[in-house]
Symmetry: C2
Subunit: 501 residues, 2 copies
């Protein structure tokens, strides 16, 4: 695989000086076009030590406008990072649309090293490569341009590079004992790298192997590749945008067959007296379970969806009343900000994932993608249809990290909604909650029903199951929510005990 | 001080139900007005355990629109937080203009407890109160409305509250051994609280002591106070805005007397040969010093200011070339984003403070406030005149935390600037760097000179000194910058050794 990157390709100084000015000019020009476009560029440098990863990133910073380009390099994860799923730190650092993010020691770094050093089994290695594929696909599907460089040196060339550096008073500090240790493991390193490259060489995010011996050569090669790829992508994205404009906005037909909402007995109810007792009981239980979860460092994510006036807020308040105010954060989700729009739609949820032992409660959530965005045509058919899998992957990462996940659909009848809307209109301090939009949504009740049924069927998983809550009676609904939150904590505690003995 | 909050004030249920609906309606109404305004509201709850701090915050979340209101409560600082100055975590959580942030266990929490438990001496306690005053004044000066509630209970009332809670199956978990421990130290707690309240009862951020025994009473009291204060502040801020509109935009006359730029010998230069040797020497030294700083966990902040085309970028690249790419981040500062505009102007710099052992390099910085914002009238005279002290306080906090700070003015002559502008025009890939604005700034050279002289004189401190760099000769300038960065690291290492033995 690497043979073609061990042939000693070079570019002499004259040639370099001839080609560089034009390249810089053109890079700046496409960077300007990129600024006006709707996608981010993610540049990844992997490869052998001394192969020019850092140097290439430095070239790019020098050649392009640093305001719209950021280089990120990673240390071992901090406590705050370790307490979240592995990709949390990378999501945080993703460039917004129109900008370039350069990643050194990226998400490839630890899977590769762990495997080379025998710290991870083949199965775990394969699993982490699958995660990477899913991550990159998610970004690429959203329009991101992903450019991956593998900077290569032959074994002798690497040795020579280290020796050269050691003899250079300015560079000798760059060569560490660790570098030599890696060099001695060169063959192993190359063999693991081959698997890694093969398994993550996606059509939407291909690797380009570059010989990293001569800075003039690899500098131009990296720069010219980026230039070409951005140009291609700009063209592609313009064509896509044109095509999109023509696409009619429609919520689309049902994807699933089952009707999750059908069997729901909305008449279930609870009287005031037993409600008080149950409330006490389940809030006490929740408090107890959460203190256990806190001790074990188990984070929890709760997502609340439901019809307008379905009782999300009331149910959430019955949960938080049982918790210490340091333990949870409630995120009411409304239209995304400018900063959030410049990112993948999952970005703002990734950002708010809880630390170990904490709870993030989302009042409306990422499911907006397949509900309001589908119905209102804010997302294209392709986008919302893709979202079911993206969401399952997202929640899968939470669960894989040991997070307790519970998600609720607060279900009420169309009549009950009308009663509640009318009641809200009567109370001055509740009137604000009722907007034009609520009435509009109500007119599209049947379209929403389709979307909800699809959502529940396509994103119901064992570890992140949907709970449809019979919501016509608020007391019944609140108790059921509390019970199910407890159930989710129980499940996570049990799993934790199984995994950690 | 607390006697008037131990008289057993209550509100009966009937009265409560009569007043609450109107209060909620009005709170929502002012929240709507607030959304359109240009200031944030910061609500702080301090006081005794069981005095209704968390309950009050819950009321507010329930009564107002949760989308524009956020409650924050703090655990002991995480590693990431400990590695930054104390107020870093609070800056991160400040609400944007138009929104409300509610702080539980805020910046008052640890100074109070440390003092009560005898963990801090009087001097340290006083120091932390001074820091708080400076923090709140900085926010208030920027327009923030700060509302501080001290929730009080008499000793017997607190005991009764704890016993009541212990007997309530739903609430018993809220009473911990720690609460009783605090109760036994009640007198001490009250005595320290008195000092704390007296010393931080600022005209722009006064304390309101509230009797925390009856939820109906304190709920209404808190809600009505917030209502009144926001209304007053809205009125005040409208008047201010009107007054501002009338104020003519002018850069203002010199504040300082000294002329820091006058004695600068711009002809200092370095030939290519000795430059190469010096570069090697100082980059090596920088690398060595930074590795020591990394080991000691010393963070570093570098600020680069200078005339357009003064050579900031080139100087920065000579620094980063000597460092591991994981060690530093370069922040090129341009016009603030929407999100940044919604915050205090220092917010975006606070956000990017380096962790222990890391370096944040700002290519243009917070000094924009007293340079471009002063000259262009983006800041009012009052604002930029106030900024010198704010900046000194900000840098003081960095230094107090052990951060190495260095700031550079890259100085060139007006003729040299012209030469460089013209040279840039000749090179296609450098042309983009030259904008209309650069020529406009050049026309205001003398006004900038005044602003620069003021800046250097008014913000030059021993621990964060200005370095004016003779910049006509790029080689000389780059070496001087490297030397001064080394000096700053040396200084911080020395100080660290003194403090930590």
């Amino acid at each position: 695989m690497f043979a073609c990157a061990e042939v000693g390709r070079t570019v002499d100084k004259k040639e370099y000086n001839r080609r560089l000015p034009k390249l810089r000019e053109e890079l700046l020009e496409v960077q300007g076009l990129l600024r006006e476009s709707d996608f981010p560029v993610i540049v990844i440098f992997g490869g052998v030590d001394g192969g020019g990863k850092g140097e290439s990133a430095n070239y790019l910073s020098e050649w392009m406008d640093a305001h719209w380009l950021r280089t990120v390099a990673y240390d071992p994860p901090t406590t705050e990072e370790k307490e979240r799923p592995r990709f949390w730190r990378y999501w945080r650092d993703l460039p917004p649309r129109g900008q370039i993010g350069i990643f050194l020691s990226s998400w490839y770094h630890s899977p590769l090293l762990n495997r080379v050093h025998g710290k991870s089994k083949l199965k775990a290695f394969q699993h982490s490569l699958r995660e990477i594929r899913s991550f990159e696909r998610t970004l690429a599907d959203d329009g991101a341009l992903i450019i991956k460089f593998w900077m290569h040196l032959g074994k002798d060339a690497q040795k020579k590079r280290f020796l050269d550096m050691e003899n250079d008073p300015l560079l000798h500090w760059r060569v560490t004992e660790r570098d030599w240790e890696h060099w001695r493991m060169y063959d192993q390193f190359v063999s693991v790298s081959e698997t890694l490259i093969q398994e993550t060489d996606l059509p939407e995010a291909p690797w380009k192997i570059i010989e990293g011996a001569d800075p003039h050569f690899y500098g131009l090669e990296v720069g010219e590749t980026i230039l070409k790829r951005i140009r291609q992508h700009l063209k592609k994205s313009q064509e896509l945008a044109k095509k999109r404009k023509k696409e009619p906005v429609k919520p689309g037909t049902r994807l699933s067959k089952k009707n999750a909402l059908k069997g729901i007995d909305l008449e279930k109810s609870l009287e005031k007296k037993p409600y008080q007792l149950e409330l006490e009981r389940w809030q006490g239980r929740l408090n107890l379970l959460h203190r256990q979860a806190r001790e074990k460092g188990i984070p929890m994510v709760l997502a609340f969806e439901g019809w307008d006036a379905g009782g999300k807020g009331g149910a959430i308040r019955r949960i938080t009343a049982a918790l210490d105010s340091r333990s949870y954060k409630v995120f009411p989700i409304s239209a995304p900000t400018q900063e959030e729009l410049a990112q993948h739609y999952l970005w703002r949820f990734w950002k708010q994932l809880p630390r170990a032992g904490k709870i993030s409660i989302f009042d409306r959530s990422w499911y907006g993608r397949v509900l309001v965005e589908r119905i209102e045509g804010f997302a294209t058919a392709e986008e919302w249809k893709r979202a079911y899998q993206e969401i399952c992957d997202f929640e899968g990462e939470l669960v894989g990290h040991g997070t307790a996940v519970a998600k609720f659909w607060l279900h009420i009848s169309k009549d009950e909604q009308k009663r509640r809307f009318e009641a809200r209109q009567q109370v001055p301090y509740k009137r604000w909650k009722l907007t034009e939009e609520d009435w509009r949504n109500r007119d599209r009740w049947e379209e929403y029903e389709d979307a909800i049924n699809d959502m529940i069927e396509l994103t119901h998983t064992q570890d992140a199951p949907w709970v449809v809550v019979e919501g016509n009676n608020k007391r019944f609904a609140r108790i059921k929510v509390l019970q199910e939150v407890c159930k989710a904590l129980d499940r996570a505690l049990h799993q934790h005990a199984t995994c950690h003995g």
